[in-house]
């Protein structure tokens, strides 16, 4: 299922004017505070009526100002995790989680246990929201939206109140949702790591307009995509798990190049996506030896983009795909890098943290 959206709306001074097509998978809305991310999500949920536009899930038109269609929010079958938890204060955690299930098409009761377990909610079920910590509340809100069996999941910074450990538990679940359920997800996040890991499509907003949009792999490989500064650049490549080694490493095949990563959960043969943070990539003209870094891929420089600062983003075409490396300009000249020059990209095994590995 995919979401197509076109809308124009004005808030006095500020305004929105954008249109996009979110294919199946997870589409991230990215952008500075006040860019209009929440407003877009609200329009999809039917909580903001745009001045003009059209919103559809495949054939199902949710809103069309031209035809006068405006489906009420409860008929849209969206699961919405709000920027703040918005729990029902008069219901227990269990009551909150169960609220949407009454309207869910399929009453999948095994989901309840699975989701409460994943979110660590089991010990809280009989509490009231007033007696929960901030993170606990947000976890309940996520569970509540998931359990309403939505056709699209809208998540507005759902994980920002959570600690890393909890995030790491929830992220694989979101991946599974994205991949298995065929559930399109519209996701607002400020975290490049989350975005890189999860995004199928990335949409960057600025002052209510789209400044960049495309499949995550492309957007991330584009040296021009420097979310919140070049610092966070990093290419996405795809690889397949070749084998799991006994010493706790997994060997991946990325277009013929071998990459070693900490043991992955997925079975051999699985296609994965890796984000290689540009600032973690070291380039060398000669093949280095005696290094602790296990992953070394040969390639050829395809572009060098110098920023305002002392850095440069070097795109290297390798067997594994295009890799971005962020170097100082001093290093660029010291290594005499230029378009067409051959070089080796060095990646630490452990730089590719779980946060940077996403399935498919």
């Amino acid at each position: 299922m995919s979401l197509s959206l076109r809308l124009r709306h004005s808030f006095g001074s500020a305004g929105l004017d954008l249109s996009f097509e979110a294919p199946p998978g997870l589409t991230v809305l990215f952008g500075a505070s006040g860019a209009g991310k929440t407003s877009v999500v609200r329009a999809v949920a039917g909580l903001l009526r745009p001045d003009e536009g059209r919103i559809a899930l495949d054939e199902r038109v949710l809103f069309d100002s031209g035809q006068g269609v405006d489906l009420r929010p409860h008929r849209r079958r969206v699961g919405y995790v709000f920027q703040e938890p918005r729990l029902f204060p008069h219901l227990s955690v269990r009551g909150n989680l169960g609220y949407g299930r009454r309207f869910a098409r399929a009453g999948k009761s095994q989901d309840f246990d699975r989701i409460t377990d994943m979110l660590g909610l089991a010990p809280l079920l009989s509490r009231r929201p007033g007696a929960l910590s901030g993170g606990e509340q947000q976890r309940v809100a996520i569970g509540r939206a998931l359990l309403s069996d939505p056709q699209i999941l809208l998540a507005d910074e759902p994980l920002s109140a959570l600690d890393t450990a909890r995030k790491d538990e929830i992220l694989p679940w979101l991946e599974r949702l994205r991949d298995e359920a065929g559930l399109p997800i519209l996701y607002v996040s400020h975290s490049v790591q989350e975005v890189a890991r999860l995004a199928t499509t990335v949409i960057e907003l600025e002052a209510g307009r789209i400044t960049r949009m495309g499949p995550a792999v492309e957007v991330f490989s584009d040296p021009g995509f420097t979310p919140s500064g070049t610092r966070e650049a990093g290419a996405l490549i795809t690889a397949r798990i070749r084998s799991h080694h006994a010493d706790g490493l997994s060997e991946l095949d990325a277009g013929g190049a071998a990459l070693f990563l900490p043991r992955l959960a997925q079975p051999e043969g699985t296609e994965l996506r890796l984000r290689l943070p540009a600032s973690d990539v070291i380039l060398s003209r000669r093949r280095p030896e005696g290094l602790s870094a296990l992953n070394i891929v040969a390639g050829r420089v395809v572009s060098i983009r110098e920023g305002h600062g002392p850095g440069a983003l070097v795109a290297v075409e390798t067997r594994a795909g295009q890799i971005l490396a962020r170097l100082t300009q001093r290093s660029v000249s010291a290594l005499e890098l230029a378009e067409g020059v051959e070089c080796h990209a060095i990646l630490k095994t452990l730089s590719i943290a779980p946060g940077n590995v996403g399935s498919g």
Binding site: P73, H74, P89, A104, R128, L154
Partner: protein, 230 residues
């Protein structure tokens, strides 16, 4: 309690019955009116608002008089309803109706204030979870306005226990049928030397209303504690 004669007991029972039904019967229309006034914009909204407040503005005798000439047995509406088996005139149901109408503005205001304080964000959340408006109302809005509903109900009940002008004008003061405590008190006050008896009944009605009040406070406290989390 042998300080109460059988007629007075009758008045007590009748007052309680009248007040209870007045309160209960005005809850659904009260919630509806409050909701309409708080949430909807429609032509005639101001008129509805005025109508709801009317019994407050009018001297009770006028309200009773208006009821009498619209719902009396000789009045077109009254006789039509009587044909359907619904009698208000000179019947305890009429006393309940008068009391309900006199308490209606209080009930509606209380509920409306609570409604206006309900965070619409929670209703939005319920909507995105698939709850249609009525269900949303029943499962989110209604529980959240319970304190207001309770306050409104207790105001309505208390007013019904004290209502006199409209009642006696509309349904008279017939022992066992429409002679409520306030009507009985009124009759005592009409004759010299009746003060003592009147004050006895006043004390009684204060005790009854106090119990209702205490009960409502207790309930409200429970609700508040539940919502704040425990």
């Amino acid at each position: 309690m042998d300080w109460l004669g059988p007629e007075e007991w009758q008045a007590v029972r009748l007052s309680l019955r009248v007040a209870f039904w007045a309160m209960l019967a005005s809850l659904p229309p009260g919630v509806l009116c409050a909701y309409a006034l708080a949430r909807w914009r429609f032509p005639g909204r101001q008129l509805l608002n005025l109508l709801v407040h009317l019994p407050l503005v009018l001297p009770p005798v006028v309200t009773g008089y208006l009821l009498l000439i619209t719902l009396g047995r000789r009045a077109p509406l009254g006789s039509f309803l009587e044909g359907l088996g619904i009698t208000f005139a000179f019947h305890w149901t009429g006393a309940a109706l008068a009391a309900a109408i006199m308490g209606f503005p209080l009930l509606v205001r209380a509920i409306r204030l609570s409604l206006e304080a309900v965070d619409p964000k929670l209703e939005e959340a319920a909507a995105t979870l698939g709850a249609p408006p009525v269900w949303r109302f029943l499962t989110v809005t209604l529980p959240l306005i319970l304190p207001g509903l309770l306050a409104g109900a207790v105001l309505s009940f208390a007013k019904a226990m004290g209502e006199f002008g409209a009642t006696i004008t509309f349904v008279s003061n017939i022992p066992g049928e429409t002679r409520t405590l306030p009507s009985a008190i009124y009759a005592f006050l009409q004759v010299p030397g009746g003060e003592a008896s009147a004050l006895r009944l006043v004390a009684l009605s204060v005790i009854l209303a106090m119990s209702a009040l205490a009960l409502s406070e207790l309930l409200a406290h429970r609700i508040a504690r539940r919502v704040r989390g425990a």
